[in-house]
Amino acid sequence: MERTEIESKLTDLLVDELGIERDDIRADATFEEDLDVDSLGVVELLMALEDNFGVKIPDEEAEQITTVGEAIDLVEKKLNA
């Protein structure tokens, strides 16, 4: 999957599943501060990533994600592994 495709799919997930405003979503936006996603929202995000990209994200790797760009990086790495 191309990075741009991951990016657009992730953006849709954040809008549809987590109810985040599309305009707020940028690669450097942090989930916690910029997008107001709390710890429960992060769990929901990970479940959505796993479901929609067919990848498995262990908790220790999930904890490293703080921005939208890092989430894209991780999914890309998983898909290409």
Binding site: L18, G19, L40, G41, V43, E44, M47
Partner: protein, 414 residues
């Protein structure tokens, strides 16, 4: 007697009759039924296929979707009722407002987030624990309606939940008033909600033989005190009241609807779902509420009955009223607004408290509809069919729940 008196300064409700207080009140006085065929779930294999549904409820008109999806429907309904009640009273706190630490919440709910419970159990069985929602537990638990209100409306005082089935929101109101009386808060939002039109709840209550199966006549199915009654009609919804220490309310120039003067409780100690025959438990709760109010039974000018339309309740409640009121039982107007709203379970007591308070305000009592052929054992004045002008000084509201919980509130005009 305590010198801290408690008054009602705000009302809110969303229920099958209407989505706000004044429309609900007009509907109740007009004898409008909120009951219809079930549309929100698959009901074709359920014994009871009718309910008081809120078909036009749009939570996203009140909050962003991302917030709404973290709340079960019961909590969403309560949130909307609470918003109306707080707005009506003029109570609003900014974060960290010192006064907000003297304001709290008591909510009643019979079952809490049963919709979510069903969804999560389905996920657990069909997919597995790794796909359970992180919001599942907070959506299921019955105290989250109150927790959410404290978060969104900045009410930092006492916050608790009553879970006494169909008496839950009457307990919430009584407990909230007591919290103000003993000085632990000046303002309390009290009420309750349930949203149990789900397959689990509808199927389970039917197995307990509690629900009407008059599926071909939805609006005639809730018929309290009528010989043709065959069970209660499930309904969803919420109501909330702002209770306030009287001096606090007067100082800020709040509109006062009524005073909360009596709160009585008892337990039947008899059976999980059936009332004690003869109504001794209900009678003791009524007497206890009168004693708490310091009034004689003859002073009560309206009773909003529990009046569920079940075979057992309506006879037992009638006997209990006779025990407590003697000859006055035959003179005092009694009505069951459940004939129109259906039975909101944990939301019922609060909706009926709203009706009782408005009966005091307007000097008119709502009717019991569908009472065309009274049960011979139900021989009191249930205000059949038409609302009636009554100068209501003291109104009593009865609420009884599975488990044998009997809760009675008395409101008075100022």
């Amino acid at each position: 007697m305590n010198d801290r008196r408690v008054v009602v300064t705000g009302l809110g409700t969303v229920n099958p009759v209407a989505g706000d207080v004044e429309s609900t009140w007009r509907g109740l006085l007009d004898g409008t039924s909120g009951v219809g065929p079930i549309t929100s779930i698959e009901a074709s294999d359920l014994p009871s296929q009718i309910a008081g549904e809120i078909t036009d409820f749009d939570i996203e008109a009140f909050m962003p979707r991302r917030q709404a999806r973290r709340m079960d429907r019961y909590a969403q309904l309560f949130w909307v009722a609470a918003r109306e009640a707080l707005g009506d009273s003029g109570i609003a706190y900014e974060p960290d407002d010192p006064a907000a630490y003297r304001a709290g919440v008591v909510v009643g709910s019979g079952i809490g987030g049963v919709t979510t419970f069903e969804e999560e159990v389905t996920t657990l069985l069909e997919v597995g624990p790794h796909r359970l929602s992180p919001f599942g537990i907070p959506k299921i638990i019955a105290n989250l309606a109150g927790g959410q209100i404290s978060i969104d409306f900045n009410l930092y005082g006492p916050n608790t939940t009553a879970v006494t089935a169909c008496a839950a929101s009457a307990n919430a109101i009584g407990d909230a008033a007591a919290i103000i009386q003993r000085g632990a808060a000046d303002v309390m939002l009290a009420g309750g909600a349930d949203a149990a039109i789900t397959r689990l709840a509808m199927g389970g209550f039917a197995q307990a033989r509690a629900l009407s199966t008059r599926n071909d006549d939805p609006q005639g199915a809730s018929r309290p005190f009528d010989a043709g009654r065959d069970g209660f009609v499930m309904a969803e919804g919420a109501a909330a009241l702002v209770l306030e220490e009287r001096e606090h309310a007067l100082e800020r120039g709040a509109t006062v609807y009524a005073e909360v003067v009596g709160y009585g409780m008892s337990a039947d100690g008899y059976h999980v779902t059936l009332p004690r025959p003869g109504g001794d438990g209900a009678a003791r709760a009524m007497q206890s509420a009168l004693d708490d109010a310091g009034i004689a039974a003859e002073q009560v000018s309206y009773i909003n009955a529990h009046g569920t339309s079940t075979a057992a309740n309506d006879v037992t409640e009638t006997m209990a009223i006779k025990t407590v009121f003697g000859d006055h039982a035959y003179r005092v107007p009694i009505s069951s607004t459940k004939s129109m709203t259906g039975h909101l379970l944990g939301g019922a007591g609060a909706v009926e408290a709203v009706a009782s308070v408005l009966a005091i305000r307007d000097g008119i009592v709502p009717p019991t509809i569908n009472l065309t052929d009274p049960d011979p054992e139900c021989d009191l004045d249930y205000v059949p069919g038409e609302a009636r002008t009554v100068d209501v000084q003291y109104a009593m509201s009865n609420s009884f729940g599975f488990g044998g919980h009997n809760v009675v509130l008395v409101f008075s005009s100022q």
